[in-house]
Homo-oligomer: 200 residues x 2
Amino acid sequence: MGISTQDKIKIAARKIFIEKGYSGARTRDIAEEAGINLALVNYYYRSKDTLFKIIMEEKIDELFGTIIPILAKKDTSLIEKIDEVVDKYFDLLLKVPELPLFVINELRQENINSKIVNRLKVIFENKDIVKYLNELNPNLSNYHIMMNFIGIIIFPFISKPIFVSSSIIDQNEFSALIKTQKGIVSQLVKSLALINPQIK
Amino acid sequence: MGISTQDKIKIAARKIFIEKGYSGARTRDIAEEAGINLALVNYYYRSKDTLFKIIMEEKIDELFGTIIPILAKKDTSLIEKIDEVVDKYFDLLLKVPELPLFVINELRQENINSKIVNRLKVIFENKDIVKYLNELNPNLSNYHIMMNFIGIIIFPFISKPIFVSSSIIDQNEFSALIKTQKGIVSQLVKSLALINPQIK
DNA sequence: GTCTATAGGCCGATAGAC
DNA sequence: GTCTATCGGCCTATAGAC
């Protein structure tokens, strides 16, 4: 069984939108990448905008959805949760390193609809998650913990373009760096426990 | 003395490019923001592309140039250097929080020219900087130290869109969070010294 | 230097044949 | 469902008047 035309378009759209962003991507790029006729993009998805919103929603779920079921579990310790989240994120981000930068960058533009906003709110205001994360360091606010927790995990992937597109390192060296980075991240997240915002 | 037309265009271009990225920005937006006639953009800067490259170079210097003179100083301790870098970055990024995301995102596209690449290389391969930073943790490679050092400082600003555009927090709350974040970042950078990539 | 007007090309979207 | 052809609009860039 081959892939349906509709799915070919979606697969191509994922690649092109992530690569070039909404305004940099052309429906012609997507059609070419999918190996189908330009008119079919509109036939199946009505407009570039509709297609983009579908991809965006999917990617937000992929990026933030990973974290919910793990952190909300009731029978694991906080340390186990952290290790599992770091594990899962590195698996995901090694496959799609551009994901965090794509999502964050498009969130900044006004392409957002209320559906996406609500999805984010559900994640960040989930009471179980807030409660468990707070155990990490009671001196810090929920947002600080959340911001630093997520930030420490994803920043190696966000900073990738600095090192790779400037040819300071290449793709292979980046992959090697990331293997060590995983251990660093794991320890760094746990060291959030030691931080006291009162002292300097 | 008023501002020259040429400068008005550059000031407007900074704002528009940072807000919308290269492909999302229109020369019409820039002209309107500058309060001048559309044709003058091309009169003074020949093309959108030329103007963009000027802004980009300026912003890369702003973002990465800050770090060089501080880290290369010979008469300050590593801890003093870290504190000064964190200080300077927070001053800068409180004024232009969108700066890191803008630069990194555009680096990812192919808009780069060799001039910019070279500038990055000069920074990341400066022997003094490499030597001093390595004192922080001899168990880690230069790139790991550099990546984590820069990453820890800038990720609060990069993750801003996640929290702000989803209305989880607003601009004022973000500013308040950032004040505490500065202390966290300072301690987090120093805790890189304790990390051992061997253990898990 | 600054304006108006427009060229020229690209892009999203659709009409209509098969 | 898939194609070709094309429309209409927008965007960068420039020609030419002042």
